[in-house]
């Protein structure tokens, strides 16, 4: 009984590994270049990277306290 269960588990594992082995892959230099390109293209929009003009980020403004 138990051997039949582990046989079917192994069967599933084999199928899954076949699926993963069949995945189409690209070379790292190409993949890395594309990741880099995305970074460069969007860098100017990235406020945490390049900063924002003073006064345009409400979080960076000093908060005023009203003395009542």
């Amino acid at each position: 009984m138990s051997s039949r269960a582990s046989a079917s588990t192994l069967q599933c594992l084999v199928e899954q590994l076949k699926l993963e082995a069949g995945v189409e892959r690209i070379k790292i230099p190409q993949a890395a270049a594309e990741l880099q390109q995305y970074c460069m293209q969007n860098a100017c929009k990235d406020a945490l990277l390049v900063g924002v003009p003073a006064g345009s980020n409400p979080l960076q403004e000093p908060r005023s306290c009203a003395l009542l």
């Binding site: 051997s3 039949r4 582990s6 046989a7 192994l10 069967q11 594992l13 084999v14 899954q16 590994l17 076949k18 699926l19 993963e20 082995a21 995945v23 892959r25 690209i26 070379k27 790292i28 230099p29 190409q30 993949a31 890395a32 270049a33 594309e34 990741l35 880099q36 995305y38 970074c39 460069m40 293209q41 969007n42 860098a43 929009k45 990235d46 406020a47 945490l48 990277l49 924002v52 980020n57 409400p58 979080l59 960076q60």
Partner: protein, 305 residues
């Protein structure tokens, strides 16, 4: 009978060896394409300058560890959940609490803001995911309007309004096809449990944070780990990670109370942020990328910019 048992054993043995062969072949295929690392390709990219990021707001109000947080699409509101059983919606600009719901259980481990901004979802040890419509009418009892949307067999550890197609499962990170329900890629290079996974903004890669004190970047099209973010001096696990808008920066919260900011392309650390007085448990960059928020076991949330 004896011949049947023999046949079964043979099938088992042949399946086992087929599995081993396939695993070996997979490693070989991946290794063939691995002739260079991301930081080598990015050598000519300009290094990043000094970063000045400070806590701009501290959100105090939870009575116990903050376990999860999410930003609203309006880039201003934040929902957070805590071990004290409360889910609070904050205005990050003013630090005012706009809504507070007490869950029937403690350890609210997951919370998310609806894209519409009109509801929040949360869950935890109650094994349920509940959705609360947000109302500003003081006479309405938010808890009365709650809707349970899912029953799980165990505690809810994460929930999201957009389909999250990734799962950190022990040391493995698996990528699922939501339509077929199948796992299409699996990565097992971390040496310990993975605590957090996040897609790279372009969708072609993802980062993971693990108890092995490293964060790693996996490219989905190369089907490989392409970068490791680690330092000998960092020995505590990374609990949560998120990318800046362009994907150039990776923010990671650690169990040693710090947040490390990594240059994704060069693999180096550009900044270390102190402030929390206990483990950082959750971290998310705001929808417009102008700030990020971290939640901690020190009961507070901090908004950094």
């Amino acid at each position: 009978m004896a011949t049947e048992a023999l046949h079964e054993n043979e099938t088992l043995a042949s399946l086992k060896s087929e599995a081993e062969n396939l695993k070996g072949k997979l490693e070989e295929e991946r290794a063939k394409l691995h002739d260079v690392e991301l930081h080598q390709v990015a050598e000519r990219v300009e290094a990043l300058g000094q970063f000045v990021m400070k806590t701009r707001r501290t959100l105090k109000g939870h009575g116990n560890k903050v376990l999860c947080m999410d930003w609203c699409k309006d880039k201003r509101r934040i929902v957070s959940s805590s071990q004290d059983g409360k889910v609070i919606v904050w205005d990050s600009f003013t630090t005012n609490k706009e809504h507070a719901v007490t869950m029937p259980c403690t350890w609210v481990m997951a919370c998310a803001y609806a894209p519409s901004g009109c509801a929040i979802a949360c869950g935890g040890l109650d094994n349920k995911c509940s959705v609360y419509p947000l109302t500003f009418d003081k006479n309405e009892n938010m808890a009365a309007k709650k809707k349970s949307v899912a029953m799980h067999t165990n505690y809810l550890s994460a929930c999201s309004f957009t389909n999250s197609d990734m799962q950190g499962c022990d040391k493995k990170a698996m990528v699922w096809d939501m339509r077929s329900g199948q796992c299409v890629q699996a990565f097992e290079t971390h040496e310990s449990d993975i605590n957090s996974v996040r897609y790279y903004p372009s969708g072609d890669a993802f980062a993971s944070g693990s108890d092995d004190a490293t964060c790693r970047l996996y490219d989905l099209r190369a089907d490989r780990e392409v970068a490791i973010y680690s330092k000998e001096s960092i020995i505590f696990g990374a609990s949560s990670v998120d990318f800046s808008l362009s994907g150039r920066l990776l923010f990671a919260g650690y169990n040693d109370y710090t947040i490390n900011v990594w240059d994704v392309l060069k693999g180096s650390r550009v900044s270390i942020l102190f402030g929390h007085e206990n483990r950082v448990s959750t971290l998310r960059v705001s929808p417009d990328g102008t700030a990020f928020c971290s939640g901690s076991w020190d009961h507070t949330l901090r908004v950094w910019a």
